[in-house]
């Protein structure tokens, strides 16, 4: 197989050499996302739209790139996801896999893409393992990760006096990692963890857990869960008067669409870390307006923005190389080139595949402060790129050593 592959690669290279310079380069983008379940709104069809917008804005056709799209639903199952990606690469000749919310699925896809030497641009998944032990020369983790969220939210809150924590953690590898990452930050800053409770995924009722959090007397209740679980815990915390009782909630993974689903009434005062908010500057607002028009009015989340930004940078690298076939070469080119786009500004891709940019600490507005639909966040602090992500040396990524 390896032999066959190298022959094939050689042949492709020959063909590429033989063709006149003006020939167009074919690129096929595969957007693998959650199209039918809990992450649909924060990624899903919106991610497909964001990728298309990136291709249009880049002017791909004028630059000699012929770009095709495929998209599929991974149903949040690692086996479905890895199977789709295998088939995409082997049969449909897909060059790059984009998005993939859900950490388990993204880790599975990560392995397949590395084996087949294509490119994997992660926007939706959270696990920091993608640039840690599981890092790959074919993968770039673009938007955020558990470490960045834990670091941003955890340290900001401890600094402002929230030094005792109680965790509500989804009893899953992902939730446990979020809790562990945040605990590390809190302990380092001199805060204290007074307790935690692990709840099954998709628990409907959080009142029992909230009551335990209440009697712990912790100042901060950290929500190390996602999607519907976070939304329900916040909603029920309001019902049980947790915040009025003097405790505060810290959502460790909250997206714009979650806040929209909660309504400001229940979500106000919530502090969270994000890589992007649509109402930051003229460029983001213009993007959001176009995006919302094509996405049933749903404004872009950081996952959508990350897809846009990642695809843009990818196209730059491919148009420079005039070839998308060798995934590792494309990723190396992307790492060598500084990033610059309308949504994330200037940044870089690190050796371990971590994309580096500023992160932001936001607070959800009170209903009285919100002037328009989707006007939800106010900026509390900017976390400079250099501090926003896990230091290169701490990740245990094999690509880094030596």
């Amino acid at each position: 197989m390896t032999k066959l592959k190298s022959i094939l690669a050689g042949a492709t290279a020959l063909v590429a050499l033989a063709l006149p310079a003006a020939a167009q380069t074919n690129v096929k983008i595969g957007i693998l996302s959650d199209m039918s379940s809990l992450y649909t709104d924060l990624a899903g069809a919106g991610s497909v739209l964001a990728a298309r917008m990136a291709v249009d804005d880049f002017g791909a056709a004028a630059k000699g790139l012929k770009v095709d799209f495929v998209s599929a639903d991974h149903q949040n199952k690692p086996d479905v996801g890895s199977n789709v990606v295998r088939q995409w690469i082997d049969v449909d000749k897909v060059d790059v896999i984009v998005d993939v919310p859900n950490s388990g699925v993204s880790l599975a896809v990560n392995g397949v893409v590395k084996e087949k030497n294509k490119v994997f641009l992660v926007s939706g998944a959270a696990t920091s393992a993608l640039t840690g032990p599981a890092c790959s020369p074919n993968t770039i983790h673009w938007t955020y990760d558990t470490w960045a969220l834990a670091n941003g939210t955890g340290s900001a809150i401890v600094k402002t006096g929230g030094d005792t924590w109680f965790f509500l953690t989804a009893d899953y590898a992902f939730g446990q990692q979020l809790e562990a990452d945040t605990s590390a930050v809190i302990n380092k800053m001199g805060g204290k963890i007074v307790g935690s409770v692990r709840h099954p995924l998709n628990s409907n009722d959080f009142s029992s857990f909230l009551l335990q959090a209440q009697s712990s007397k912790a100042k901060i209740i950290g929500l190390a869960n996602a999607g519907g679980d976070t939304v329900n815990s916040i909603k029920q915390a309001a019902e049980f008067g947790i915040v009025r009782g003097g405790q505060n909630l810290a959502g460790l993974l909250v997206f714009l669409t979650d806040v929209h689903a909660l309504g400001l009434d229940a979500a106000q005062g919530l502090i969270m870390t994000s890589a992007f908010y649509w109402d930051q500057n003229d460029a983001t607002r213009a993007f959001a307006k176009r995006f919302a028009a094509g996405n049933k009015g749903i404004h872009p989340t950081m996952v959508h923005a990350g897809v846009y930004s990642a695809v843009t940078h990818y196209l730059k690298a491919v148009s420079a190389l005039k070839n998308a076939a060798d995934g590792k070469a494309v990723v190396d080119k992307m790492k060598a080139t500084p990033t610059d786009d309308a949504l994330f500004g200037k940044g870089e891709v690190r050796k371990d595949g971590r994309k580096i940019h500023d992160m932001y600490l936001f607070e959800v507005k009170k209903p009285s402060e919100s002037k328009a639909p989707w006007d939800y966040y106010k900026l509390r602090a900017t976390i400079p790129a250099a501090q926003a992500f896990r230091p290169l040396a701490d990740g245990k990524c094999p690509l880094v050593g030596g």
Binding site: G44, A45, A72, D73, P78, L107, A108
Partner: protein, 313 residues
Amino acid sequence: MNGFFGMPRHHALLTVGILVFLVVAPTFIYPVFLMKVLCFALFACAFNLLLGYVGLLSFGHAMFFGGAAYITAHSAKVWGWPFELAILAGMATAAALGLIVGILAIRRQGIYFAMITLALAQMQYFLALQAKFTGGEDGIQKVPRGYLFGVIDLNNDLSLYAVVAVIFVAAFLLIYRIVHSPFGQVLKAIRENEPRATSLGYKADHYKLIAFVLSATLVGLAGSVKSIVFQLASLTDVHWTMSGEAVLMTLVGGLGTIFGPIAGAAVIISMENYLAQLGPWVTVVQGVIFVICVLAFRRGIVGELARLLRKSL
């Protein structure tokens, strides 16, 4: 053509047809997809052994499928066991689980049997979620495919396909033999009229238990092979929806027909595979198909065909 596993002529023809298809298919169908179909076809056939021929609806077969997948994946990845041993370890696990669950559940009937198997499967799901070695929702990933007998490199999709196809055919013929053996006749007698079978001196519970363990073991084989093909064992494999999937495949293909589950698995897996492109409408389309099946084609694909041809398939 009685020499061919003692099959009647139309069965032998169909089997040969399947064999020919299996040989030529990889030239025009993606082999990994074919392997997925074969794994699930085996799953459904083994499940049908219980539902179609003993009349026992188990709602917990994901337990054997996923349990075997986990053990195979773990022994291949962490302990470095070769392909054959890893698969056997998975099957042995499924057989042991099948024996325990069988002893507990076999005395109940109908919906109560289904619910007790479901309950036990849910407990196993919980254990899989809590145990360290299963890797939570990430599952056991990057399971090495290894070498068959230390020689044939299974990382090549085509060689692995050949191995999977041989395993499938062997297991299918075994199930065929079981169903058409005197033992199988007793099972059917129990399904039709248990008190009568008992009065004839057959210990119904013994027969049911043996059938249950056989079914569990073969389902385990399917799970083990699946974990090697996809190099992954995950919570999906032990979730109750996986048990539901087996029920669906069997029903869509044709309950109590020997070829039905194969057709059912092919249809359901193709649907999942090709509908994935439809994005948000996948579940709606699936739902519509189930409704149509129940309202219009209740015997399943092969069942309806058999009725048209007036032959048992």
